[in-house]
Symmetry: C2
Subunit: 336 residues, 2 copies
């Protein structure tokens, strides 16, 4: 039976202006449901929320060892970074390590996500390059996989390329399900994104957190990837972002990653739980309210962690002149 | 009884990625329902979708006559303009007519909505002023009301100021309902926005389109405002925007105006119908799909009008590199 969806409301004055529905599930590595709401069997594109799963191919292909890649490169491979100096420089180094350059990236270019970085680039008269693309770390990782496999790098974003075959295999092993070509879409950065139920994504994160049900090599790789991401949270997102601040606050106990169109995935590592969440309408701010509320309820936050999460669980809405006009918040049902 | 909501889906590949619910109602001036879906009794902030109602205060206060304002000023008062040269110049003239300047505007400043205008301003080393605010025409109209009433202009955005009292009175007369202080919020441009049911907004537009149920002066004013807006559609929004293109295509027969957070209101004038629509989650693109689909079904479009509406009813979703990755569309239920 399908549970009621979760509901996030945006108020203006005393009135609810917008309503966002969503679904989430928290499970352990056996798939036992800890908490759930909404339709968690419906296929969902995880988008960037599973970059940590995609990064496993860097281990299984031998790229990490072959090119002597470190935790910073692994964290950047997991990242939707904000195009700040630390990210752009980091990805440049990453590419050098694997004998590649920005021209080999097939993610396309967009303005830095970080406003100050965007302004600095503009003032310097620069234009955004593929290095500024929030996915450039993941793409560098995929280039490293191609080089480790000894295959041509051109076209590494296509579904049939050995890199994407290797990535798909790693994801399938982790979630324990076959990804179907019928449910394959093209992601914002042009690689394949595979839709699967939230319950599968959540279980995959629980298995990555615990190693349960995974081949030894993949279990070790998963721990390495989560350790890398959670110990370099600034590299995984950017200044002021929920993912960065939550992972900083929880000091390795929580892996948290957002994906485009309202997806949030992660693991409460000390409890061995994985979670996956989707805002039905794709609204990112509402999905952050949902996941912050979920972590407040289930991740046993201390006072400092609580303070970080509460900022994202009830953000203020301001108008053009900066006046507070409303708030975004989960309804009582979700706050528990 | 409440009808099923309307549903807009965004696909990626073969899978539905996002789901947007909404409600709409189409009525005649007596309130007789022509078509409806979802909860149309729930209070909705109309935001900028009712600027044409707010502009009626320019007539009732005598500002139009006193300052010799023309159709272009009325169209700008109805506008969420895109900050293109034609808009900025037009609002400057508007303010001169009423003996005011940009410093009197209390809407705040934001970058021009139009990308080329934004880029041109940047290249010229300029910063956005209140003239570039999409609401600057409406605010100029409100300044003209203050001057016609002979009251101080400062603070004209506050709920108790005689300007907002005059505006509120005009809206209440048109919709035939009292606006409640309990349902008053602060809009993006800092003026009050009053929540009322979609059925009330739709009926107000039907009454403005036909004059039925309105005092003669207000009926004449409404016709004048709709004529001004529909004969200067570029002033009401901007290059390439749904509101502009739809009004151009229908040549005065359709008044169409979007408002922030997924609101769309207007009138199918030749049928004497008003409509009001809200996407529950506030998504603007989905609300445009909904209203374009509604006009395709109900406004008796010819081939050229149909071609314009279809572009907005099924927009293509592209990724960073410009690849087509999906589409936004109303579900069968709405397409009829």
């Amino acid at each position: 039976m399908q549970a009621n969806p979760i509901l996030v409301e945006q108020t203006r004055g005393n009135v609810v202006e917008n309503r966002h529905r969503g679904a989430f599930v928290v499970v352990d590595a056996t798939g036992k449901v800890i908490a759930s709401a909404g339709d968690v069997a419906r296929p969902v594109f995880p988008r960037s929320a599973i970059k940590s799963m995609q990064a496993l191919a860097m281990v299984t292909s031998g790229a990490i060892e072959k090119f002597g890649l470190g935790d910073e490169e692994l964290a950047l491979a997991c990242a939707s970074h904000h195009g700040e100096d630390v990210h752009v420089t980091g990805v440049s180094h990453f590419l050098s390590h694997v004998g590649m350059g920005p021209d080999n990236l097939e993610c396309g270019a967009h303005q830095p996500t970080n406003a100050a970085a965007r302004e600095a680039l503009r003032k310097a008269g620069g234009v955004p390059t593929p290095l500024h693309n929030n996915c450039s770390g993941k793409h560098s990782g995929m280039l490293s996989v191609a080089r480790a496999l000894g295959v041509p790098t051109a076209g590494y974003v296509t579904r049939e390329h050995p890199v994407q075959v290797e990535v798909r295999k790693a994801i399938e092993t982790v979630v324990g399900e076959t990804l179907s070509v019928d449910r394959c879409g093209v992601d914002g950065c042009s690689i394949p994104t595979w839709a699967a139920p939230l319950s599968a994504w959540a279980r995959g994160f629980a298995r990555m957190a615990t190693g349960e049900g995974l081949p030894d090599e993949l279990a070790r790789a998963a721990t390495r990837v989560f350790d890398a991401a959670t110990s370099h949270p600034l590299l995984v997102a950017g200044t002021g972002h929920l993912d960065t601040l939550a992972m900083q606050a929880f000091g390795g106990r929580v892996m948290q990653k957002g994906g485009a169109e309202g997806v949030q995935c992660g693991a409460i590592r000390h409890q061995g739980w994985g979670y996956a969440l989707k805002c039905d309408d794709g609204n990112m701010a509402a999905s952050q309210v949902m996941v912050a509320t979920l972590l407040l309820e289930l991740a046993e936050p201390d006072a400092a962690q609580r303070a970080v999460l509460e900022r994202f669980a009830t953000p203020t809405i301001r108008n053009v002149r900066g006046l507070e006009v409303g708030v975004l918040r989960a309804t009582e049902e979700m706050r528990g």
